[in-house]
């Protein structure tokens, strides 16, 4: 188990390294740089030269990458090209805001998805299942920017209940994000619930059809006891991985949602930094998102292993 953990961590580090390399190369290949993006029409001659000199953009790309990487390893993400501020400071609040939005959506979405998934599976092919499944497919297929815009139209423009656009600045106290956070949270909950509940539904159906469930039925075990004691513990294991992927997606900063709602999180910062050609900031955010993906997936695998009796016998005793 420990050896596996170390191996996975090493693989994760390599993944993060590769991601940073690809992002750096990607932004480098794009035409223009931080200076042409900022100066626009004035990006010519001496002004452009001065700007590049100031930001150190006239040095070779490999040299800049190595310098950045050396800093990143020691936890120093450098300064932003646009504005010369400490990135750790800039990213901190954005990360917090993304975490806030993600946890709100998860708190609402995960219990809801588990509940609806199980209900849909147990009343399979009945009216309730058909309704839930149809809505879920709808939620998965309608693009987020469409559902987001529709929700703004209904709740903010027509009914006027909730503000449509988040106007709070990135470093405001958490309490100021309410009630503006409700609409983006609703859209995210909508999408993630759909994804998770479909997995839960199919794995519950599978478990209900399994030999041990049928055996229990034949033995005369009461229906709800079969569901809670035998089916759910087994059926919910595969859901852990889907939940993990969803969490990673949420923490990575949901770019489209954050842009539509003007939410000051990591996703919008990523977009802004790419359009400003602010390579250090783009790199820092990519690094965070990649680490989150690697970390959450690792945690999910460990959790599955701990929860799975077939894998935990060697190292842990059954309680």
């Amino acid at each position: 188990m420990l050896r596996m953990l170390i191996r996975r961590l090493a693989l994760g580090a390599i993944t993060v390294f590769l991601v940073s390399l690809i992002i750096f190369a990607g932004v480098e290949i794009l035409p223009g740089d931080a200076c042409t993006a900022f100066l626009e029409r004035e990006a010519q001659g001496q002004l452009l030269e001065n700007c590049r000199q100031e930001l150190g953009l006239n040095r070779p790309a490999t040299e800049r990458y190595l310098e950045w990487a050396a800093g990143a390893v020691t936890g120093d993400l450098g300064v932003s090209a646009n504005g010369q501020k400490q990135i750790t400071e800039l990213v901190g609040y954005r990360l917090r805001n993304t975490l806030l939005l993600a946890s709100c959506a998860m708190l609402a979405g995960i219990p809801l998805a588990l509940f609806l998934g199980v209900v849909a599976a147990l009343w399979r092919d009945r009216m309730v299942d058909l309704t839930i499944s149809t809505i879920a497919i709808g939620a998965m297929t309608i693009p987020e920017f469409v559902s987001a815009t529709l929700l703004i139209l209904i709740f903010s423009v027509w009914l006027g209940w909730i503000p449509g656009i988040v106007l709070t600045s990135a470093n405001a106290p958490i309490s100021e994000f309410f009630p503006e956070i409700f609409l983006p949270m609703m859209v995210l909950t909508f999408v993630m619930t759909a994804h998770i509940l479909r997995t839960v539904r199919s794995s519950v159906i599978e478990a209900m059809a399994s030999d041990y469930a049928q055996m229990a039925t034949l033995k005369g075990v009461p229906y709800w006891r079969i569901v809670f004691r035998h089916v759910l513990p087994n059926a919910l294991l595969p859901a852990i991985n889907v939940v993990a992927l969803t969490i990673a997606w949420l923490l990575g900063g949901v770019v489209v949602i954050e842009t539509v709602f003007n939410y000051p999180g990591l996703g919008r910062m990523m977009i802004d930094s790419i359009s400003d050609r602010d390579l250090p900031v783009t790199q820092a955010i990519a690094l965070i998102i990649a680490s989150v993906y690697v970390g959450v997936n690792l945690a999910a695998d460990l959790l599955t292993m701990i929860a799975n009796p077939r894998l935990r016998t060697l190292h842990m005793r059954k309680g």
Binding site: L30, P31, G32, T36, A37, F38, L39, E40, R41, E42, A43, Q44, L47, L48, N50, S80, N82, G83, Q84, K85, L90, T149, I152, S156, V157, G160, P163, G164, I165, L167, T168, S169, A170, N171, A172, T259, V260, F261, N262, P264, R268, D272, D276, R277, D278
Partner: protein
């Protein structure tokens, strides 16, 4: 000849114009957060957020509702015989937000900051003819120019040329201290910036007690915020979005004709555009009414390749119907009886460029001009494509006539995008600047524009009319270009 403006009428205007009621209510507006972390309250820096600085600081001269120079911090101005020295009389008794008195030293400091070549200020181009700024006495400033310039006051109206306290250059980016109708309470470029009424404002207390200027980078999000009543005014409404406001009693739309234009520029220093006949044919083939209707939904004023806006006092009254036969004849005369092929470079940097290029492509095809649209990335457009390729899309924002003609067509101009070199034209511009009689000066500027219609390499089909959406609680919003709006007049219903 001397030009004098009495300050008495200004004082009268100030007394009658402003309601003496207490400022009340909050007016909210968005800005694009276009300069990210370089956002600044320094009015002459590249990162200035003009939506904030225009409320905090005053200019020496500002445009009146007709766009003509009217007193702001300078109450009157006059030129010497040949318009090379201008003397400005300043307004008495004005105080900065920090309590200090406004006087000539502040003007000298503010203008010299703009003129400093090391300062890299984009505003320098508007006033670079000034070679000396001198305080004659505490309420008089003398400007010395390197060229006769009869319309100097027009240049001083530039929206960036705002007066700041003497010596405040290092701190102005965050303090925003000026003499304007509003004082800074909180500067937060990516969130909500708050300015509050300056009850000591020299035109009287402003109408609203508080203005919030909120950073919303995404245009769609700004529109949603307006529709949802989170902001009170938004200026970038497109003709397509207009339907959402028409017929609603919660909003109103103001149409403001501007001097902003989008067009196609052909380099006059390369084949085949080096032949003026080819350039003229390219421009004659355009159906400007058609382009305006197709691209802007008719929101604009047709221009006959003049960069001078429809509201400008020097705008020439020209006519330019589409002339396919004339274009064909000119091309044949220039040695292209079978027409020509042109690669026009188009990016999506300006949302209306692709539509304009395609509409022009269809129109010009009739005259045997085969336009091939080359798509180029928005990134690096200004540095890699514009002024490099032979035919590209372009756009310019409103400038006073003299400045527009100089910056775009003078043979030595840095942004002479068509590489237009015409000694006769250059001479006309110099002559106009020397001419102190308005009617004569106007005649020269008109001649210069007519000359452009004959020879220029720039197709300017129309000037855009801007649509400004506002919530109906906003009153007294001047229906004029942003730089002329009197923000202290605005009131809001509770």
């Amino acid at each position: 000849m001397k030009r004098l403006l009495a300050s008495a009428c200004v004082a009268a205007l100030a007394l009658t114009g402003t309601a003496l009621a207490e400022p009340k209510g909050t007016f909210r507006q968005a800005h694009e957060y276009g300069f990210g972390d370089q956002s600044s309250l320094d009015p002459i820096s590249k990162g200035r957020i003009f939506q904030i600085t225009e409320k905090l600081m005053s200019r020496l001269v500002r445009p009146d509702m007709e766009g003509k120079p009217s007193p702001d911090l300078a109450t009157s101005w006059e030129a010497n015989e040949d318009a090379t020295v201008w003397t400005l009389t300043l307004r008495e008794g004005v105080k900065f937000h920090d309590g200090s008195d406004f006087d000539a030293a502040d003007v000298v400091y503010s203008l010299n900051r703009v003129l400093d070549p090391d300062g890299d200020s984009p505003a320098r181009s508007a006033v670079k003819m000034i070679t000396g700024v001198e305080a004659v006495d505490p309420m008089t400033v003398k400007l010395t120019l390197d060229t006769p310039f009869a319309d100097m006051p027009l240049q001083l109206m530039d929206y960036r040329l705002r007066m700041i306290p003497d010596g405040s250059g290092d701190t102005i980016a965050t303090t925003g201290i000026g003499t304007g109708p509003f004082k800074l309470e909180k500067f937060d470029p990516q969130g909500t910036t708050v300015v509050v009424a300056n009850t000591d404002y020299f035109e009287g207390p402003p109408g609203v007690e508080r203005m919030e200027i909120i950073g919303i980078p995404d245009a769609q999000a700004r529109l949603q915020a307006l529709l949802g009543g989170q902001i009170d005014m938004e200026s970038g409404i497109t003709p397509q979005q207009r339907v959402m406001f028409d017929g609603s009693d919660k909003f109103y739309i103001q149409e403001v004709p501007t001097g902003n234009w989008r067009g196609i520029v052909f380099r006059t220093d390369v084949e085949p555009f080096s032949d003026p006949r080819v350039r003229k044919a390219m421009r004659m083939a355009a159906d400007r009414d058609g382009l305006l209707a197709l691209v802007e939904g008719g929101n604009g004023t047709v221009a006959c390749d003049t960069p001078v806006g429809p509201a400008d006092q020097y705008r020439a009254d020209l006519s330019c119907p589409q002339d396919i036969e004339g274009a064909k004849a000119l091309l044949a005369e220039a040695g292209f009886p079978d027409g020509i092929d042109v690669d026009v470079h188009v990016a999506t940097l300006e949302a209306t460029w692709p539509a304009m290029a395609e509409a022009y492509q269809a129109q010009a095809a009739e005259a045997g001009i085969r336009v091939n649209i080359v798509q180029v990335p928005t990134d690096g457009f200004w540095s890699e494509v514009w002024m490099k390729k032979d035919a590209v899309m372009t756009r310019w924002n409103e400038r006073p006539a003299d400045q527009a003609l100089h910056e775009i067509y003078l043979s030595t101009a840095k942004w002479n995008e068509s590489y237009y070199k015409d000694d006769g034209f250059d001479a006309m511009l110099a002559e106009a600047r020397r001419e102190l009689d308005f009617d004569k000066r106007r005649a020269i500027y008109v001649k210069a524009q007519e000359h452009l219609q004959e020879t220029a390499g720039t197709l300017i089909p129309y000037h855009v009319t801007k649509l400004i959406g506002a919530t109906s609680r906003v009153k007294n919003l001047d229906p004029v270009e942003n730089m002329s709006i009197r923000w202290y007049k605005i009131t809001v219903d509770e």
